[in-house]
């Protein structure tokens, strides 16, 4: 299969998945609750108000019609109005999503960098104390929920060592840079406001670290095992026999093919980052999509809930497409195999 055919196939499959996801979310948010307006306005709201709001939001039409109206909006980036605050959901999400994306992306960088670094260290010094520590970290990373890391980091680095701020995105007294992307670190860099940049970076570090721990340990584990597998292969022996320096073998010939498994689970790791962001944001008082989402869930604001889940689903599916294409590029064997399991 050519790479372009592979990409086209992958895109069509993902579109199908997204369409199915939209039906699933529609069923959860509209069909299951019966009367979302009544649920949001409460039992004491007068009947005529409920009926008026229902009519305004087309909730009095049959389900298939409702679904197509909703889907048409989603495709155009319009998630309707909140049942609770009557504000535009898309506007709200535009305000909150960048903070979460900034956190998740930074955590993703930390995860990939430190994960692979630990994996390399561990293979270089196999069965030494370095290796044992890395293995212990990677074990603890898998079994510890993100919010536990967040709390331990707050206590340890925030309060005990006072090394990092534990709440918010910027220190008091520093004015936020003008919103371009909504990610303060990038916005402040673009406007040359280095004071804001460093403040934002220190605020970002602890939550991103707490968020990245699970993926980091998994990356380290996989990098370690795939590198030690490849270390046994004949081509490494051949390089050694030719007298290539160990460092060159390590980084030029061993690392590259060993990265394929770590890249291919990046998609899953990003999914974990996005959902764990909900927990970490709670601990660090991070004004991202989680507070908005949890609030929407608690107030039964189903339009907002549907929007948050749909946006995260779209983000996740797009990341997976990118990851699959990278992997297919790195490893032609993947392209040859018929894609059985889809995502």
């Amino acid at each position: 299969m050519k790479l372009s055919t592979f990409i086209a196939r992958r895109l069509v499959l993902s579109l199908g998945v997204l369409l199915g996801l939209s039906i699933l979310i529609f069923i959860i948010a509209r069909v299951v609750p019966g009367d979302p307006v009544r649920l949001a306005l409460g039992a004491r709201a007068p009947q005529d108000v409920v009926e008026r709001v229902s009519a305004e939001m087309h909730l009095d039409k049959p389900y298939p019609t409702q679904y197509f109206i909703w889907l048409k909006g989603v495709v155009q980036g319009d998630f309707g109005t909140s049942l609770y605050t009557r504000r535009n959901v898309s506007e709200d999400i535009k305000a909150f999503l960048p903070a979460t994306l900034e956190l998740a992306l930074f955590a993703g960088l930390l995860m990939t960098f430190f994960g692979i670094l630990l994996g390399v260290l561990s293979v270089q010094k196999k069965n030494s104390w370095v290796d044992n520590i890395v293995r212990m970290i990677s074990y603890l990373g898998v079994v510890t929920p993100a919010f536990v890391f967040a709390i331990l980091f707050v206590l340890l680095f925030g309060y005990l060592l006072s090394a990092f701020p534990v709440s918010g995105r910027l220190a008091e007294g520093i004015t936020s840079p003008p919103t371009i992307t909504g990610m303060i670190t990038i916005d402040s860099l673009m406007t040359g406001n280095f004071k804001a940049f460093f403040s934002a970076l220190t605020h970002l570090f602890l939550p991103a670290m707490a968020l990245s721990m699970a993926g980091l340990s998994q990356q380290a584990r996989i990098a370690r095992s795939s590198m030690s597998d490849n270390l046994q292969k004949d081509y490494i022996l051949a390089h050694r026999a030719c007298g290539l320096p160990e460092r060159k073998i390590m980084f030029k010939y061993l690392l590259k093919p060993s990265l394929i498994p770590t890249v291919s689970i990046l998609g899953l790791d990003f999914a974990a980052l996005l959902s764990n962001a909900f927990l970490v944001e709670m601990v660090f008082n991070w004004p991202g999509i989680s507070r908005y989402g949890v609030n929407a869930i608690l107030t039964k604001d189903l339009n907002a809930v549907a929007a948050v889940v749909m946006i995260l689903g779209i983000t996740f599916v797009s990341i997976n497409i990118v990851v699959d294409i990278i992997v297919a590029y790195l490893d032609p064997r993947i392209r040859m195999r018929r894609d059985r399991t889809g995502a």
Partner: protein
């Protein structure tokens, strides 16, 4: 004459079979104990289960499990009387952690027990009808479920339901079956061309017989290993839901809720949040180590 020698033969075969099974078991145990961490996992899991089962008898203050208030002893640091300290209303944290184990374990066992069977059946059926529309339909539906992070989907489901333990379980169950479907599908679809399946088809075995008697037994060790590993993950997800406030509601002693409540009193009353947090880590660690041990013992590669 003939029948008596037959029964003697059968008895001998049975005896022999029993001996073989015993040998296999011993060999498996030897493999399992080869890694000390597996034993640590087994010990943790057994201890936690025993503690949870006998919680009313082993905890120092069993009455503290529910809505108990003793403001005179509130926020006490760990001491000989309260080994892990007391919480904001004076309840013994150790007691509540042990009762919290109960909820975590129930959650884990119920969710996996409910989610695995439909997932397994879906995977078996899709694998048996590989490359037909049944395969496509089932596996594409699982793709949709797997397209959203599990925690988010569970949260969305709890949004339309009242927040409590039962609905939290239901929500996690609804998004957990696709993982089993995919695991079993992977194994069963690769078995379609094996001779023993073809032989059964030729001798006229029914589809149900082939699926459940020929293919399913080959998936059992992978399923069993995944179940053990998943128990830990489900406990993490359940405690995360509770941590956000969408799972167990007070005064139910739940580890996630306890961490969230205690976090309000950081850093001075650190034990209120750190102790239940570490309790979650220990229980999940136990299931994970045990699962890894099983994986090595049963030589499962797919999970």
């Amino acid at each position: 004459m003939l029948s008596s020698s037959n029964t003697a033969e059968t008895a001998a075969i049975k005896e022999n079979l029993w001996q073989v099974r015993k040998d296999n078991l011993r060999r498996s145990w030897y493999k399992f104990t080869g890694n000390r961490l597996s034993i640590v996992g087994l010990i943790i899991v057994i201890t936690v289960i025993l503690l949870a089962l006998f919680a009313p008898w082993v905890t120092p203050y069993p009455e503290h499990r529910g809505a108990f208030v003793d403001f005179n002893n509130a926020m006490q640091a760990p001491s000989t009387e309260n080994l892990l300290g007391t919480d904001a209303v004076g309840r013994d944290i150790l007691t509540r952690i042990i009762f919290g184990f109960r909820f975590s374990l129930i959650m884990g066992f119920v969710v996996i027990g409910l989610a695995a069977p439909p997932g397994i059946i879906a995977g078996l059926v899709a694998g048996y009808f590989r490359d037909t529309w049944i395969d496509t339909l089932i596996m594409r539906i699982t793709d949709i479920f797997l397209a959203v992070p599990p925690l988010i989907l569970a949260m969305a489901i709890t949004a339309v339901l009242p927040p409590n333990v039962f609905y939290a379980m239901l929500a996690v169950t609804l998004m957990w079956w696709p993982w089993y479907a995919r695991l079993v599908y992977g194994i069963s679809s690769s078995l379609q061309n094996e001779f023993f399946v073809q032989a059964a088809q030729i001798t006229g075995a029914s589809r149900a017989y082939i699926i459940f008697k020929e293919i399913l037994p080959n998936c059992i060790s992978a399923i069993f290993t995944k179940m053990t590993l998943d128990l830990g993950i489900v406990i993490i997800i359940a405690s995360s839901l509770s941590f956000v406030g969408l799972g167990a509601q007070p005064p139910t002693p739940d580890l996630g809720t306890m961490v969230a409540d205690g976090a309000k009193y950081m850093p001075d009353q650190w034990w209120m949040t750190v102790c239940p947090a570490l309790a979650i880590v220990i229980i999940v660690l136990g299931f994970n180590l045990l699962g890894d041990g099983l994986r090595d013992m049963l030589a499962v590669e797919e999970v």
